[in-house]
Symmetry: C2
Subunit: 345 residues, 2 copies
DNA sequence: CTGTTAGCGCTTTCAG
DNA sequence: CTGAAAGCGCTAACAG
């Protein structure tokens, strides 16, 4: 049987309360006593039963998730994952609220953060837009002892505790590597389609993509980036134009959302098979396009992992604990038509 | 505050003990009483606090992992993950033992299973070798109420409760898809290197690979499969021969282990860059070869995920609970030099 | 500064 | 068949 607080109290010749004080390094213990207890802990190889501690504490973690509104499938999937986490709230001792804000709107986001602050949550997870006022709002939250985690898109240089998302430079590089190899010796330029250069994740993907293309495939021309605001209708128009203007287009890297527009444009132009398309995020639409071959490869971040990681980190930070960074690293999934996960119910 | 057993006892007008009997559907409750309690549970929307239940039960799960011996890096990594899980034993209420058996040795594996059975564990996780005597041993365990999960390599048709591993047909298809696209119009045949056709995972990868090559790249010649027993030295000799015999070799798919041998053979022949190599499992060696470009792509199964999943499933099965299959599905990771995870300490 | 005591939500004897 | 009471390992008042 593994040792309990009773055992260590007995071993150290003190009471349970004192052991508890040492364990949770609460003040009010003479250092001699503290030493005795610590020796006992070490001697018995005590490890605290976290479940029992939580039960006794009855602590819950009020958490707020701030997500962009709109019909972006990835974001709606992310929201679904947050709702799934809400369903597990009881078991995980969390109490989650979702706040919705317009996409790519820094003032609205800053306001939402301050709004969240009023509710005095233990932590806030936010899909960031890169702007000084947002960083400033994050700072205010931190000053109030509220843990802040950026989700999907980061806010470097701010005081956020952690970023729960993928390495977007690596994602862009991966896209570039696949694009270059898939095209092989085929002639023609490659177009790049982003959502907005206001969000960090899109900028970083572009940076990684360009880096690999120029390092490993220097002969390939990359067209200037086009911004579709993650809006399918706008994306479709933009791609229509691209296809029309560049009859020899060899590939398209879509690093943002709105892939429905990309897919329709390619298909109606009858160039779905001829053009190598690489996009991000596995959604019902992008999945279908991968299966038919309109999209050749899909990079994905697992929204479920991101949400669960954000929650774990927020809870840890709220308790002043550190996290094992490596363990919270989010992988970049690569999907081809051949390794698609089975569809969920 | 969410309802507790007390609330439902009060609501139903019975005692705690009766509520508990109903909750865990233990016998000795009149069906009228049972109904009353169940109505109360439904009315209050009660959800049991699993942590508290475990605390009260003080239950632990003795588990046995049976792993192949030898210096196969992937298997040693798997073992390291099992040891990591052992370190978490206290928190997870598990008590894990590792049994080591010679690789690809069905009689030894069957004996080990029977050996494990003597220790009356709650569950056994085993890297299977496909043979009737192994299936028979699994059956004996199940008859004794011991949960059995196959790990990495499955034993279909046996009575194992679950398989914790990747879809190896999909893995083979993915390898084929990448190989076909990476080669593009380049001429030359593709070689396939396996460990042993006695293990299910290798057979399935081969099947998937061949399927995609014939469907999507019918012009490409696939050489007969060569078995390297997951042994680097043997693999090296075999690849030496292949390289010598096929001066126009365009690609190699290594679907088993022993990649050290593959890498040295390619490098010493000076054909590392010219030949497209796709292999399995991220190990220190394969990682290095991916970075230098000797290996072009690596398919990987996350050993940590597999071990944790196996443990979750074994615990659930031991308690007679079902698992959400989708949640326990293990993904196939694809690594290029550009999306390698940061090296762990 | 330290100890006593009463729980957290659930399970488990042991009586009745 | 049902109930009362003790306790899992830990924490939190409240006394001393």
């Amino acid at each position: 049987m593994r040792p309990t607080v009773h055992d260590i109290a007995a071993e150290a010749g003190v009471s349970l309360a004192t052991v508890d004080r040492v364990l949770n390094n609460r003040p009010g213990v003479r250092s001699v006593t503290r030493d005795k207890v610590e020796r006992a802990i070490a001697a018995l190889g005590y490890v605290r039963d976290v479940a029992a501690a939580n039960l006794a504490k009855g602590r819950t973690y009020p958490l707020i998730f701030i997500l962009p509104a709109g019909e972006n499938s990835f974001m709606r999937g992310l929201e679904a994952e947050v709702r799934a986490a809400m369903a597990r709230s009881a078991a995980e001792r969390t109490d989650i609220t979702i706040l919705s804000v317009p996409a790519f709107d820094a003032p609205a986001l800053a306001a939402a953060l301050l709004d969240a602050r009023e509710q005095r949550p233990a932590g806030v997870a936010v899909v960031a837009v890169e702007a000084p006022e947002v960083a400033e709002a994050v700072k205010r939250l931190r000053e109030d002892g509220i843990a802040v985690v950026t989700l999907v898109s980061d806010l470097p240089g701010s005081e956020r505790d952690h970023f729960a998302g993928v390495d977007n430079i690596a994602a862009g590089r991966t896209a570039g590597s696949l694009m270059g190899r898939f095209l092989g010796g085929r002639e023609g330029p490659v177009a790049v389609l982003a959502g907005s250069m206001l969000v960090r994740d899109h900028c970083e993907r572009l940076e990684g993509f360009r880096a690999v293309m120029s390092e490993d495939f220097p002969g390939r021309r990359i067209l200037p980036v086009v911004e579709g605001q993650d809006n399918p209708a706008l994306v479709e128009t933009l791609v229509d134009t691209l296809l029309d203007k560049h009859r020899d287009l060899a590939g398209i890297y879509s690093l943002g959302a709105g892939n429905r527009g990309l897919v329709s444009a390619l298909e109606k132009a009858g160039r779905a098979k001829a053009i190598c398309a690489i996009a991000h995020e596995l959604t019902p639409h992008s999945r279908a396009a991968l299966v038919t071959g309109t999209i050749d490869a899909l990079l994905n971040q697992n929204a479920g992992h991101e949400v669960r990681s954000a929650i774990r980190v927020l809870k840890a930070k709220a308790d002043g604990l550190s996290v094992i960074a490596a363990q919270e690293r989010i992988r970049i999934d690569i999907f081809l038509k051949d390794n698609l996960p089975v569809e969920q119910a």
